[in-house]
């Protein structure tokens, strides 16, 4: 009897052990997601989450019985990748930074967003389709055909339209006297009244700041000061600064034939580059001009060191660079418009409830040889980052609800909310100033971002603007190599080689790698 009881117990325990091992198994598909609970996983940082929480509240108010669950995660990109691959614990919407979504399309993991792009939203000028409401430069940037021969449809939505460039301390600028004169503009001793308009002016501004370093140190109570800083851990932002100069020199919509080398070296316009017609696009003269402009401001080629920046910039994270800026140890920081929101917790170092100084986004100074318009004035160009990705997994539990949420985010009211709360723009044809009322006024940073956007003659984006979808090359659709893909020592060489040599190396690297790039997307 006792022996039988022991046997039965043994069998039960063995069965429980075996069943426990199978507990992790289950049907392929989402686990944890629920009907009518819209789960959104988003990247924390940058624009923050307040605008998303507002949108979620509006959505819940207009959809009875629906709850929106927001899950912020700084590692959402790799998390999303794992979840898309496994199909488990999928969110309904993912919002993340730059991400290679094309591969996910090929594997059938993303939902077709044609319904979203074709949906109508309310604007002050009446209802308009989202695809027509988007900025023309980027409206088709997320289209792709899933199979060879299948029609191109949109698979992801764009999020931000963030100006890349220089953020500056306005008080420091306006209190800095010129140490050199510029005929017709200013004399020695005159104070700066506006941000530098050309790269030469930017170099002069850095020199003027260096000249009054002791005064600034005494004023701020710091022990170190440099005109600029950047995040050495994310050198891609230096490239984005250079892209703006490249577009100015090369010409974006039309070739800048005023520069003889542009016509001579060929390769097309700045926008043509992003269609990757051939390796010759890497031979554009604007690339050398952009690198040269960067080195004029940031590099001392004699000592092979960075100048006008803290020596330790090459070790800085984005947070380190922002910290130095908010503590007024630098007058300018390289980054994007997201920086203002990202510095929310540290803009008030003295604790008086207000920002310690006025922070603004600078219109990108013009490089020597920048394109001029028909009126003979320099064409204003800035690079705008629009590589953030919003996507819906094809296996998500609430695909239709997710699409409705994306449509809500594209309503004019939501766009204005986004800009009000983040000081950033979205790539749509709306007027952010419509958000100003008796109760609300934009701060100086947001105003500077809006003014720069409106004043820009060309919004430079990393898309082949002006190229029809059918004419886009496979490399443009699937791969998009950039300078340091062609010349992997690019960042290191900024300190050791002149612009011409670097540009040559980029071109020769592209020529060498071109067959491989083509083979990878064939």
């Amino acid at each position: 009897m006792k022996g039988k009881a022991v046997k039965i117990c043994s069998l039960i325990f063995a069965g429980m052990l075996a069943a426990g091992c199978m507990a992790a198994c289950g049907d392929r598909g989402t686990t944890g997601a629920q009907e009518n609970v819209l789960t959104i996983r988003y990247f924390t940082g940058g624009t923050g989450s307040v605008w998303l929480e507002n949108a979620a509240e509006k959505f819940e108010a207009s959809h009875e019985g629906v709850t929106v669950k927001l899950e912020g995660d700084s590692g959402v990109t790799s998390l999303m990748q794992t979840q898309l691959t496994s199909g488990k614990d999928l969110a309904d919407i993912y919002m993340t930074n730059e991400f290679a979504w094309q591969e996910q399309v090929s594997m059938g993991r993303l939902a077709d967003l044609t319904d979203v792009y074709e949906a109508e939203v309310q604007t002050k000028d009446g209802p308009v389709k989202i695809k027509d409401y988007m900025l023309d430069e980027v409206a088709e940037s997320r289209y792709l055909s899933r199979y060879e021969g299948s029609p191109s449809v949109p698979w992801t939505m764009l999020m931000g339209f963030s100006q890349a460039g220089l953020v500056y301390n306005e008080e420091m600028l306006l209190s800095t006297p010129h140490t050199t004169a510029k005929a017709g503009e200013w004399d020695v001793g005159d104070l700066w009244t506006a941000p530098p308009e050309t790269v030469a002016d930017l170099v002069a501004y850095c020199n003027d700041l260096n000249a009054r370093e002791d005064e600034i140190l005494e004023m701020t109570g710091n022990t170190e000061f440099d005109p600029l800083t950047f995040s050495g851990n994310e050198p891609v932002w230096l490239q984005r600064l250079m892209y703006g100069w490249w577009g100015q020199y090369q010409g974006a919509e039309e070739l800048n034939t005023a520069n003889a080398d542009v016509a001579e070296q060929g390769g097309g316009t700045f926008f043509d580059f992003w269609n990757y017609g051939s390796a010759d696009v890497f031979n554009q003269a604007g690339i050398e001009a952009a690198i040269g402009a960067f080195q004029d401001v940031f590099v001392d080629l004699n000592t092979h060191q960075y100048k006008n920046v803290p020596l330790a910039s090459t070790s800085y994270s984005t947070y380190d660079a922002e910290r130095r800026f908010t503590q007024q140890q630098t007058a300018m920081v390289v980054g994007g418009a997201f920086i203002y929101n990202e510095m929310t917790g540290v803009r008030d170092v003295d604790g008086d409830g207000e920002d310690d100084f006025t922070m603004k986004m600078m219109m990108l100074p013009a490089v020597e040889g920048a394109q001029v318009g028909d009126d003979g004035e320099l064409l204003k160009m800035n690079l705008y980052n629009c590589e953030d990705v919003v996507l819906i997994p094809s296996q998500a539990t609430n695909v239709e609800l997710a699409k409705e949420f994306l449509i809500l985010l594209c309503e004019e009211e939501s766009l204005l909310d986004y800009t009000k709360l983040t000081s950033e723009l979205r790539p749509f044809k709306y007027d952010p100033m419509d958000a100003e009322t008796e109760d609300f006024e934009y701060g100086p940073f947001a105003l500077s971002v809006i003014e720069n956007f409106n004043a820009c003659d060309v919004h430079l984006v990393r898309c082949p603007v002006g190229t029809e979808m059918e004419e886009r090359t496979l490399i443009s659709l699937y791969s998009q190599p950039i300078w340091d893909t062609a010349y992997t020592s690019f960042t290191a060489s900024l300190l050791t080689q002149d612009a011409g040599t670097i540009a040559e190396n980029i071109y020769s690297g592209a020529q060498k790698e071109w067959p491989k790039w083509e083979a990878q997307v064939r």
């Binding site: 290679a100 090459t314 070790s315 990878q520």
Partner: protein, 339 residues
Amino acid sequence: MGSAGKVENAAEDPREREEGISANGRKKPLAPFYKRAAFRKYIFILSLIIIPMLNFIVFWVYVSADTILSTFRHFSMRTGEFEWYGLQNYIEVFREYMFGLDDYPEKRALFWNSFHAVPINLIILPLSFVCAYAFYKKIRFQKYFRVCFYLPSIISISVLALCFRYMFHSDFGPIKALFENWFGYAPVWLSNDSDQMWTLIYIFCIWAGMSTNVIMMNSAMSRIPEDISDYSRLEGVGFWREAVQIVLPLVLPTVGIYMISVVTAVAAFALQPMLLAGTMGLENKFGTSAWFILEAAAGGQQNTMILASTIGICMTILLTPFVVAVRVLVNKFTPEVDF
């Protein structure tokens, strides 16, 4: 049961039940196979090992086989399918990552930086032995030193690495302040092109990695009979002479096992450079192949993962002869020690 060969109670004889042979030699019908003792014994053993076996088959054999198979394929974004690619991935790894024939130094750096694990572990070995011996000899304040040595293995390595890294931060690190006071300037230790980063990684790995080895060696030393220690003391054998001529030979098997792990550490060397350097640095100055594999897995792009798998397989192919050679040498030169 009575004496061998004799059955006292024929009715309870298991042979009678199973083998169909009764005590008086008459044939009986065979018991069903599932009632036989041998079968039950094997069922019991199987029930114990079936779950770990399945675990091994699914999570190691299948995964490894699939990984090896994937290294012969290439993902086509145009079709969304994996296509046969032959040995192209291996050719790329050998040409570009191992021998650097494509003039991209950062690919070669990614592969060969992993071998920093060898000198790091070779430095740790004698230091661990000395520390373990000091504890074995119960030097003064040895309990305090034990805590100091074991603390790094108790604290999370992420916290440890962050604290260590911030000591050298160019804006607020105390080491930076010390250097400026003493020498008037401080290098930028943590830059993406730092010439000092590998030194920092070595220091950190040695400091954080010693504790486990000290514990291992100390455990081996604690098995040495006290008679030997007493004899050494009576004969006036010096501190270091005892260490080298008596204790070291007795713990050589443990040292031998450690030597094998020195070689295998190459394939897994990622965490410390990753936590300290933060980025792989310019031209992958601080990157290792294991770090690349981790990033490839996190990034999730199919062809990058395939490349990472290929690098892993090549590393295994490269290291296996060394592991075997070390094992042979260890077996040859480290005698078995019995107490």
